[in-house]
Symmetry: C2
Subunit: 345 residues, 2 copies
């Protein structure tokens, strides 16, 4: 997604930019409903005309044409001579039948986040999360991980939002210098699968709560890397960490408060050998906190979703790493709003 808002859409003295952002939930919810209805998976099977699609998707006569043409205007579908088809992007990323599917994050946004964000004003005033755990007191992950169907949805969502970064980390980090890695909070295993797929000399571990095991193993087998990637069940707060050369934390640190973040980095430092490395990635906010809109909004999403989580700048993360004992640190952009912060022991 766009790393920052483009200058050209802000022009003096017209309300266009304001209305575009303020009513932006229309386009957003239209795409979320399209994913829910299976528009892109249906069109991946075969391009189709309006009556066919209306029937296959069980759309009402009144809504079908506007809905599909809105997706065309949003550049999420193509239409030639009355036949609708996927764009290259939506065919690759939103067809449930392909391993490159990233729609899990949008399914979760549709089923959970869109509604919870309706209480943003309350969250801004109270500092309290607004999801299923609202008014409870338990970690949101406890509720999520207790329900196999919700868990599978969440893990698939995490793959959706990690796919691009996983490829960039596989390409940009000097993996030739290392032999083993662990992805801490691996979810379905997008990062381990991508790293092992790109680098045949690597073997790795996906570390997550024990309930994740079957979903992880299914995904890793689908990706054909189950000979070199295995699952290790545990809690990264309570259990010891396996020994590997490189530990990756992707979309993990932002879930937790400052003390928990520092504790995790310290525990990672202790687990690594001399010469080992930690790779933290998130939608890292620019140090001046004025460009990476997505990173700042992701931090508000942590407000909605967690008791104390927040996103952070590269400077913040490097300071915590040095405090944990890492001798050298650096920040490198990955893709879109994501960057990685690397620390060497």
């Amino acid at each position: 997604m766009e790393h920052q808002v483009e200058d050209h859409i802000v022009s003096a003295a017209t309300p266009e930019h304001i209305l575009q952002v303020g009513l932006g939930f229309w386009a957003s919810k239209t795409l979320l409903s399209a994913v829910e209805l299976g528009v892109f998976s249906t069109l991946a099977d075969a391009p189709a005309d309006l009556p066919t699609l209306q029937r296959k998707l069980a759309l009402h006569q009144r809504s079908a044409r506007d809905f599909l043409d809105a997706l065309v205007a949003l550049k999420l579908l193509e239409r030639e001579n009355g036949i609708y088809s996927n764009t290259a992007d939506t065919d690759q990323f939103l067809d449930r039948g392909k391993p490159s599917y990233i729609g899990g994050i949008l399914e979760m946004a549709n089923a959970r986040l869109y509604g919870f964000w309706g209480s943003l004003t309350e969250a801004l005033r109270s500092g309290e999360l607004q999801n299923e755990s609202k008014g409870g007191g338990e970690s949101p992950f406890v509720a999520m991980y207790a329900d196999p169907k919700k868990l599978r949805g969440f893990l698939s969502a995490m793959s959706g939002i990690s796919a691009g970064a996983a490829q960039a980390i596989a390409a940009n980090f000097p993996w030739r210098d290392y032999k083993t890695f662990m992805d801490l909070g691996s979810a379905q295993g997008m990062v381990p699968a991508t790293l092992a797929g790109a680098h045949p000399h690597l073997s790795g571990i996906g570390f997550d709560l024990p309930q994740v095991k079957p979903v992880f193993e299914e995904f890793i087998a689908q990706r054909g890397v189950d000979d070199r990637v295995r699952f290790h069940g545990g809690s990264f707060f309570e259990d010891p960490l396996p020994k590997v050369d490189v530990i990756v934390l992707g979309h993990i640190l932002h879930d937790w408060d400052l003390a928990q973040k520092k504790m995790l980095l310290s525990k990672v430092f202790d687990a690594l050998p001399k010469g080992g490395a930690v790779v933290v990635y998130d939608a890292i906010i620019d140090d001046d906190r004025r460009k990476n809109a997505f990173g700042l909004l992701m931090s508000l999403n942590m407000l909605i979703e967690t008791p104390g989580g927040f996103d952070y700048t590269g400077e913040d993360c490097q300071a915590w790493m040095r405090e944990a004992g890492f001798s050298e640190t650096r920040v490198e952009p990955l893709v879109g709003p994501d960057s990685m912060v690397v620390g060497l022991k």
Copy 2:
């Protein structure tokens, strides 16, 4: 707002565009909450630092900085040396203390539409509206117009979404050839106030349901054109229309089904003198239905809000006008996604 999605944000084989649109409700709801909390009105009084704003807006310590910096990254606030201030746009259009305020549409989006759009999938399947009138059978305007507070909010919202078009119609239509006009479904009176303000030789009428009268007269007096603009209470379906040279219908035709649209145009034709004109404006959809995303999404908003309303192309509207008897018709772009369709009798 953007008339169409820019090509540069669509790049092959990355999920960025998909995630940007799909999670676009984050930015949208952040702006809606900012309007609700009075961020821009507060900063119009005086630029302020983080602790001051946190106190004035009653924001929680956890959320304040991310929220305000997200608004900076979205180019809705500025921040220099730790002092937050409005941008030129947000100062002009989102300060409740200024007559140029257009935030009513965003207040309504925040209080009503964001939630109702959560049921878009159901609307797509059923063809049924999803607002306060859901499951009822009465016109949504009946419920809205019966509650003075909701009515005032709705009328102010209509001003917000009409301000830009009103200025363009004042500038682009040959008003020198006419002396009198009527805005049919005037709401608060943004169009009559703008036309009369720009053209001292014009006098006009705002026509709307009788309940609108006090809100209209207050707005028109504020704009200083109450000597030439008066209110006429009535139903445009049931009551005769006053005689004027030009009748304007802005964001009116899209509220109604095809038979009602044609009936209204026919009634307008009958009311006009020979040589008179009708000016219809809406977020008119491009004839090929593939560019004006906002117009197509507005049509889905009519699905959410009305029993049979829909937006339409310039070609559609010109055909209905010719069927009603208008001899000459043309389509002219106004501003952003809005165009006007002109018919001459």
